[in-house]
């Protein structure tokens, strides 16, 4: 799980171009959207694509999205429990 969190952190910093921000602290338990990094709905959609492409999971409605992208830990937990691609 911790390994998955680290893996996701790297991916998110990459796809959302967060590396150049002065504070690239992607908190594990803080809110992923809004928050100090100011991530918005388009960033969420980028993460949706990543989750489907890399972990074979579709997040295709707002209610599920709010749950899955609540925090980095929530995202990791959702992938950990549901991904057909993850070797456990």
């Amino acid at each position: 799980m911790e390994q998955l969190i680290e893996e996701l952190k790297k991916k998110i910093i990459g796809i959302l171009d967060l590396a150049n921000l002065p504070s690239t602290q992607l908190e594990v338990d803080g809110p992923l959207v809004g928050g100090s990094l100011g991530l918005d709905s388009i960033d969420v959609l980028e993460m949706v694509i990543m989750v489907e492409k890399d972990y074979g999971l579709r997040v295709d409605n707002r209610e599920l999205g709010e749950k899955v992208f609540a925090s980095l830990r929530a995202l990791a937990a959702y992938i950990f429990e549901n991904s057909p691609k993850l070797k456990r």
Binding site: L21, L45, I49
Partner: protein, 719 residues
């Protein structure tokens, strides 16, 4: 003089529900829906419902959008032997359906992409009907067709044109089909606007065209264009303002412009895409302005959303409603959304309809509303011809860097070709603000920011007019690349939102808080001139400050395929300029005036017309001290011949600055030239190095910026 009334003398329409006025009227009266699974191209997952046009689009040499535009335009022009004085077309996809296929196949022949440009649709119609006046292309995403009507309306009202062919066209393509899908804005069951269970839109295609006249009421006028209003949300690149503030402002402006009260509107044709956010925001805006009993409907549950065509298609539908006494149904609506306090029409209704308001809103927060009514005699306000705009401040970017670096390099006689590095481009913008943005939005934002700072920051613009030859190529390439590489499965949502031509201007509006008109124009080498011309017509009512920008990027793959001039120069070049302008004649500052724009290809009289428009040889000599000539590399021979013809037509001895040799080959190089002309006119001198080493000073005189090649343009810049 009094403002001219503007009538719809002819109209054409092709959409998924039918081809032609009669077929469309019958389909609307019968409540026919036409959303079906896509068959135009193969998809990796079961095809989603779309609005695909069924009638013959079988010309292998012409992109689908161009074919749709021709069908609708031929209908609108039937019975009119005279050429239109002006053509204004809204489009976003243009040749994209063809371009996708070519790129995916690895085609590297630029000739194959000659009809990729958004501007090529209007250009095709101009050649078809022999238009010798301004040919403009609006690309404000889903409001393009309606914005085009507003521009033509203003040109006709002043008497500058008597006949305008105006409309919008877009074809289905992979970019829009997969793009809206990856934004999760598609309803898998087909669009159900205003429905409680609605989940999104259905992408569609089509074209609507109107022949507008200001020649007095024609014998068989379909209706009258009473007014139109534009606004910008200045809120988010893709999502509407949650309270519908921008929608409200556009509708209120349209009512004020038409002199019609909210109570006089018999039917509101909603934008009503079927996305949860759009319909909720639009409903809130409508409820703030209109009686809750006003009949409303969105026809997009029947036709789908044909993007840039929608505003024009729905303007034609408004005219049909008035002529037929018909209020079309809100097809697809089963369970009204309790959050929406409007009165949607669920079945087609026969009733007298005198006045219709039609809404169109687009990405970038670019909003438009149009009021169409039965012709009615009324008092009209006074209308003055367009006047020069006053320059409050300006800024430019070239390969040399920002404004000061560019000016220093040119004064030293060194060229400014090249591409500014991304970090330098965004040096004044917080990383957080630009992290997701590629070259074009960063360029536009940097230009807007610098122009404002150079003005002393006391002049925030109310309205933004943006010209770009090729739009956001990095985002377009990024989107298509990610699509192709993943077998049409995982394109980038960020790139899709950024790929529309008007995305940079939308970002500028957010940056400046500019909630007035926000119009993006495109047309290869004359895009900046189109933006300036539009600003001159639309800016008069804006009251505040106008920001006019021109910008283009250099993309290592696409620039060489699309822009033949860029392909001919071994040095990549990119850049642009912004002018912060005032429409108040009393304001001090250098005056800029878009004096001329017309197609030049195949015409022998264009140069003589240009000289005439500039007031003849004597006036040119008396008023101007230098000519900044734009000769795109792809049109070098023809352009030089035009320049020679211009010189001999007015016995011209003016020094000439061949500016593309200094700033490089990019479509909006003329924006940089105009910025430089402002600088030269204020100084009354041109750096000697730019004129073959001869010091040239011309105190009290100005500069002429003339674009040669496919389109002939002239901008007067005077102290």
């Amino acid at each position: 003089m009094t403002s001219q009334r503007v009538f719809i003398a002819g109209a054409g329409i092709v959409s998924p529900i039918g081809c032609g006025i009669a077929a469309t009227a019958a389909a609307l009266a019968g409540g026919i829906g036409a959303l079906r699974p896509l068959t135009l191209f193969a998809t990796p997952t079961p095809p989603l419902p779309v609005g695909q046009v069924g009638c013959g689009l079988d010309d292998p040499d012409l992109p689908r959008t161009h074919q749709l535009a021709r069908i609708a335009a031929d209908q609108a022009m039937a019975g009119c032997a005279a050429a239109p004085d002006v053509i204004v077309v809204g489009t976003t996809t243009a040749g994209m359906h063809t371009t996708e296929r070519l790129l995916n196949a690895g085609t590297l022949d630029p000739q194959a992409y000659r009809r990729h440009a958004a501007g090529s649709v209007a250009e095709d119609l101009a050649a078809r009907y022999g238009c010798s006046g301004p040919v403009l292309t609006v690309s404000t995403a889903c409001s393009s067709g309606a914005v085009a009507i507003k521009i033509a309306l203003e040109m006709l009202r002043t008497g500058a044109a008597r006949r305008a062919l105006v409309g919008g066209a877009d074809s289905l393509c992979r970019l829009t089909y997969y793009g809206f899908n990856c934004l999760q804005l598609i309803d898998p069951q087909g669009a159900r606007p205003l429905d409680r269970e609605r989940r999104g839109m259905s992408v569609a295609e089509g074209a609507g065209m109107l022949l507008l006249t200001a020649d007095g009421e024609p014998d068989r006028a379909l209706a009258e264009v009473l007014g139109a209003g534009l606004s910008c949300d200045a809120y988010h690149p893709a999502a509407p303002h949650p309270e519908g503030d921008g929608a409200y402002a556009a509708m209120a402006a349209a009512l004020a412009d038409s002199g019609v009260s909210a109570r006089a509107i018999d039917y509101i044709n909603l934008h009503g895409t079927g996305t949860p956010d759009n319909d909720r925001a639009e409903a809130r805006a409508v409820a703030r302005l209109f009686d809750a009993r006003t009949p409303v409907s969105s026809i997009k549950g029947a036709t789908g959303h044909s993007l840039a065509a929608a505003g024009a298609i729905e303007a034609v539908v408004a005219a049909i409603c008035i002529r037929e006494g018909l209020v079309p149904a809100n097809t697809g609506l089963r369970l009204p959304d309790p959050e929406i306090s409007l009165a949607p029409v669920t079945e087609p209704r026969r009733t007298r309809v005198n006045t219709v308001l039609s809404n169109s809103f687009g990405f970038g927060g670019n909003n438009a509303a149009v009021v169409i009514g039965s012709p009615v005699e009324r008092e009209l306000p006074a209308s003055a011809p367009v006047a020069p705009l006053r320059v409050l401040a300006g800024a430019c970017v070239t390969g040399a860097g920002h404004t000061e670096k560019t000016l220093a390099r040119l004064h030293a006689g060194e060229p400014c070709k090249g591409v500014i590095p991304l970090e330098e481009l965004s040096r004044h913008q917080p990383a957080r603000l630009v992290r997701r943005l590629k070259f074009m939005p960063r360029l536009a934002m940097a230009l807007a920011d610098e122009a404002q700072r150079r003005s002393g920051a006391s002049h925030p613009p109310a309205a933004v007019f943006f010209g770009t030859g090729w739009g956001a190529l990095s985002e377009t390439h990024g989107f298509l690349n990610s699509l192709f590489e993943t077998g049409d499965r995982f394109p980038s949502p960020t790139d899709f939102v950024g790929s529309v031509h008007n995305a940079p201007a939308g970002q500028v509006a957010i940056q400046c808080g500019a909630t007035g008109a926000n119009v993006t124009l495109t047309g290869e080498d004359d895009a900046f001139e189109q933006a300036l011309l539009t600003a001159a017509y639309l800016g008069r009512g804006a009251g505040g400050r106008l920001l006019v920008l021109g910008a283009d990027e250099h993309h290592p793959v696409l620039s060489g395929l699309f822009d033949r001039s860029a392909a001919l120069d071994s040095a990549p070049a990119a850049g642009g300029a912004a002018l912060l302008l005032s429409a108040t004649a009393a304001d001090p500052g250098v005056a800029v005036f878009p004096a001329f724009t017309a197609p030049a290809a195949g015409r022998t009289d264009a140069i003589a017309e240009l000289v005439g428009r500039l007031g003849g040889a004597e006036r040119i000599h008396a008023r101007f001290g230098v000519l900044l000539a734009g000769i795109p590399a792809a049109h070098r021979r023809a352009g030089e011949a035009q320049l020679d013809a211009f010189r001999s037509a007015c016995g011209l001895t003016l020094p000439v600055v061949d500016y593309r040799r200094w700033v490089g080959e990019f479509a909006s190089a003329s924006a940089v030239a105009t910025f430089l002309a402002v600088d030269f006119a204020a100084a009354g001198a041109v750096p000697a190095a730019l004129c073959d080493g001869r010091p040239e000073s011309f105190p009290g005189k100005g500069c002429l910026v003339i674009g040669f090649g496919k389109t002939l343009t002239a901008i007067e810049v005077r102290p």
